[in-house]
Amino acid sequence: MAFGDLKTDKGVNELNKFLEDKSYIKGFQPSQADVDALNQLAKAPAVGQPHALRWYNHIKSFSADELKNFGASPLKAGSTTTAPAAAADDDDVDLFASDEEDEDAARIREERLKAYAEKKSKKPELIAKSSIVLDVKPWDDETDMKEMEKQVRSIVMEGLLWGASKFVPVGYGIQKLQIMCVIEDAKVSVDELTEKIQDFEDVVQSVDVAAFNKI
């Protein structure tokens, strides 16, 4: 199972999403796949990644011996690939002292990689936003619409921005409140928002999503 680079936040977010409805990465018991993924993580997942964090704590709770017993063999040591190459070097007579050049090249490459990584990390991440129009229906014909709007606008959430609103007549002198808002998808869920509005039970009868547009 691949989640991109688990050292980055984006990779861990993918992992978090994947583990939403799964207890383990592969199958239904701890396996080598879990150990591999755990080893790739740079640090424990943040609180905002609850599913990854739960999985992390669960896998972490096993002792090293237990981890080795899960599925396949333990992690391969990385040293085996370099040894033969070093031996071959010894046989060659290096006339042009390319050792130093190699070092230089390696150094330059590393610097470039570092610069690239820095540049990449500075690039602002695209934040997915949605524009929503909500229909808020009052409890009855005597509900104070201004008061209702005030209460709805009193909801403050991170990543939530209230916009324009208007009263739309429904019939028999009853009006409904149509209000626009912009939310950040990652921070605010529409369900949560509508539930919050519906919590004003005294004035609000129901909330509908009239329009939903990704920005």
Partner: protein, 174 residues
């Protein structure tokens, strides 16, 4: 005193591989007699199953024992008697919160508490709508993980938690 259906005791005994013994019921209290050992009360009976079966689903230390005791009690008092829709919603909501940080109920492995609650919740989970399964995601994940063991599942139906078809119902999430 609240009581539970005796079928849960049968299922647990069968899964643990413990002899059921002779179970009698008086005033809503179960009593089990096996090898001249008497245990009274559902929770004690479950712990006596554990002892008779040499199963490793029991507690490792007193703290775990206490936690398992509480979960069994929770299963009997709340889960097994959540008979109307409102109770079920409250039950699942609470469980969903707790399971958001845990893979299993007690410690980091399958215990008899998970097994018991699995049997008790089997009917409720089988009757959940897809939207509710999605809503109580953490419970669904826990349940799905437990039900994979055919020996544990016994005669219970396999509950499908696949969310592919959900994409049409809740597009905002997918």
């Amino acid at each position: 005193m609240v009581t539970i259906s005796p079928k849960y005791l049968n299922q647990i005994a069968q899964y643990l591989g413990a002899p059921l013994g002779k179970i009698t019921q008086k005033d809503n209290i179960y009593t089990r007699v096996n090898n001249n050992q008497t245990s009274t009360g559902t929770i004690n009976i479950i712990f006596s199953f554990l002892k008779d079966s040499k199963s490793n689903l029991g507690p490792n230390d007193p703290l775990q024992e206490a936690a398992m005791f509480q979960w069994l009690e929770y299963g009997i008092v709340y889960a097994a008697n959540a008979n109307n829709g409102q109770n079920v919603k409250v039950l699942l909501r609470d469980l969903n919160t707790i399971l958001s940080t845990q893979t299993y109920l007690v410690g980091h492995r399958l215990t008899v508490s998970d097994v018991f609650l699995y049997y008790v919740l089997a009917d409720i989970m089988a009757g959940l709508s897809s939207l509710d399964k999605e809503k109580f995601l953490n419970v669904s994940r826990w349940y799905d993980n437990i039900q994979q063991d055919a020996a544990l599942r016994q005669k219970n139906n396999f509950v499908d938690f696949s969310s592919n078809y959900l994409a049409n119902l809740v597009p905002a999430r997918h």
